[in-house]
């Protein structure tokens, strides 16, 4: 297919704040079209990686580049879905409005008659299979429905990279699988690169090109086969852990209390 084109590159990257380093010495490389999982215990600094890519935070040292440039806030090539709470029932705004703001929200003025914004929003909703949700209120949508709306909101400005922060949290296993299939098909059809922060790596395994495992102040990266091994993770966690596989390829990590990669809590 297309030649390997490096979209994200980090060298000796140290994240956090001086005096409060979150993780250090990360060397990352993500190529165009890759589907990448960002895995690690709570508080390990997964969201920090996104904030660095979004230009919301500066590296302590080392370099990070996205599209061959230092990250800057407001990069139109990035679509971002932050980790967030569900809207409460009082927020009575139809989903379509939020999706439309994903592209038009940056512009000043009333924008009363923008047919282009309208069509872009409707297309994005169609792409995530949420056309029927367009005129439903955000406050009454379920977690899975909201995630599809958020995905549409991120896609509406036609980004090349998607940063998805824990889109699978609070979903039951069936919804989790449905949403993952949807994200994967969107990534394929739009040829975008996706980084997805998740708690449990198992449902992601069929789709993954790469894993960024953040734990213990360090970052391990590579293909799932390279990273999800006893040697690599023992090295990362600094204690002896063992990666076990079941007959269907699901993994379980034994030897750490916060057992990421095993079944969800």
């Amino acid at each position: 297919m297309t030649t390997q084109y490096e979209i994200i590159a980090a060298k000796d990257l140290v994240a956090g704040y001086p005096g409060n380093i979150v993780w250090r010495d990360a060397n990352l490389s993500v190529n165009r079209g890759e589907f990448v999982a960002v895995i690690g215990p709570n508080g390990a600094g997964k969201t920090t990686l996104f904030r660095l890519l979004l230009g919301l935070q500066q590296p302590v040292s080392g370099t990070i580049k996205i599209f061959d440039e230092a990250p800057k806030r407001g990069n139109p090539q990035i679509g971002y879905v932050p980790q967030r709470h569900i809207f409460d029932g009082e927020t009575n705004i139809e989903s379509f409005e939020l999706v439309r703001l994903g592209s038009s929200g940056k512009r000043w003025g009333l924008g009363v008659l923008s047919k282009k914004d309208r069509e872009a929003a409707l297309n994005a909703l169609k792409d995530v299979g949420a056309s029927d949700l367009a005129h439903r209120s955000l406050g009454v949508l379920s977690g899975g429905e909201l995630q599809r709306i958020f995905l549409a909101e991120a896609l509406v400005s036609n980004p090349s990279v998607l940063l998805l922060d824990e889109p699978l949290s609070n979903l039951d296993m069936r919804r989790e699988r449905e949403l993952l299939q949807l994200i994967h098909s969107v990534v394929e059809s739009r040829n975008v690169t996706a980084l997805l922060i998740a708690h449990n790596i198992n449902p992601l395994l069929p789709y993954l090109d790469k894993v960024i495992y953040i734990a213990n102040g360090k970052v391990a990266t590579g293909t799932p086969q390279e990273v999800l091994t006893s040697e690599c993770l023992s090295d990362l966690f600094g204690v002896h852990v063992e990666v076990l596989r079941d007959s269907r390829g699901n993994i379980a990590i034994v030897g750490i209390e916060d057992c990421h990669g095993c079944q969800p809590e």
Partner: protein, 290 residues
């Protein structure tokens, strides 16, 4: 003077709306009340939508109370209370905006300042040797006492607010609904927060003429909260919110003219009844239709 003329008139209520309205508009003070009421209702109805959307009703409430001490200070030094309101609410608004993300979550800090400012207001009023009438009109509004120059000032402020909202409409809506994404997209969310609080500050300062600092919710929050239950598209909600605020203001003025009771009481009661109807009766009517 105005009160006595009203009381003699109240017996002449004719039940013919056209005649009754003609009678009302014979009086300059009633014309001014309708003019100021119209501008304030439109502005409060629109600004109120963002107040409700951003969950900043407590901040808006606090601003009006901070404004109270400003108005009292202005009375004390002998200037138009509106200027005192403008200065104090603007500074207060900047302070709340500087607290940053989701000011509504800073209840304790805002409340602490609010209580102190109210206390200051009481001091200023006690130092003022005039009558309690001034305090009364700041706290509860005295729309029937609005002068023509006050109407003009209100009009200028109203037009400025509306133009500003038209300019920041989409970014403010976006930042109010989805601050994290707006920030990542490079939007000036902090500046939008500051602009928003200044809009609330100015809108509050002028709305005080109609409903007073204590009843500001009646025009700034209740109409928008009611409208939000009736529609899902921001522009529709805003139109409905303005319509409710206008309706309550007009009806309140109309009833207030023919009765000896305060206009702000009627405005508060009308928006409250509408809120209750929409909250509890409207869902049942909708359920019947489906």
């Amino acid at each position: 003077m105005t009160l006595t003329s009203m009381n003699t008139l109240s017996s002449t209520f004719s039940f013919n709306p056209i005649v009754d309205l003609q009678r009302i508009f014979q009086f300059a003070f009633m014309q001014h009340a309708f003019e100021a009421g119209t501008i304030v209702a439109i502005v409060a109805g629109i600004v109120g939508y963002f107040v409700v959307l951003r969950r900043s009703s407590f901040a808006a409430h606090a601003l009006s109370h901070i404004g109270f001490s400003g108005a009292a200070a202005a009375v004390l030094i002998g200037v138009n209370p509106v200027y005192g309101l403008l200065v104090f609410t603007s500074v207060g608004g900047l302070g709340i905006a500087a607290l940053g993300r989701r000011a509504s979550q800073r209840d304790v800090q805002i409340g602490t300042v609010l209580a102190f400012m109210l206390g200051l207001g009481v001091l200023f009023l006690s130092l003022y040797t005039g009558y309690a009438e001034e305090a009364y009109s700041i706290l509860f509004g005295e729309v029937l006492g609005v002068s023509f120059s006050a109407v003009l000032l209100t009009l200028v402020a109203g037009v400025i607010i509306l133009i500003l909202i038209a300019v920041v409409y989409r970014p403010l809506l976006f930042a109010s609904l989805d601050e994290d994404v707006a920030e990542a997209k490079g939007m000036p969310v902090l500046m939008l927060g500051v602009i928003f609080m200044l809009l609330v500050a100015v809108a509050t300062s002028f709305a005080v003429q109609v409903v007073g600092v204590l009843l500001i919710f009646a025009l700034m929050v209740t109409p928008a909260a009611t409208a939000q239950m009736l529609a899902k598209r921001p522009r529709q909600v805003i139109v409905l919110s303005v319509a409710i605020a206008l309706f309550a203001t007009y009806l309140g003025l109309f009833i207030g003219f023919y009765t000896p009771y305060p206009v702000s009481f009627f405005i508060c009661s009308i928006v409250f009844v509408l809120y209750l109807l929409v909250r509890f009766v409207y869902p049942k009517i909708r359920a019947l239709k489906l």
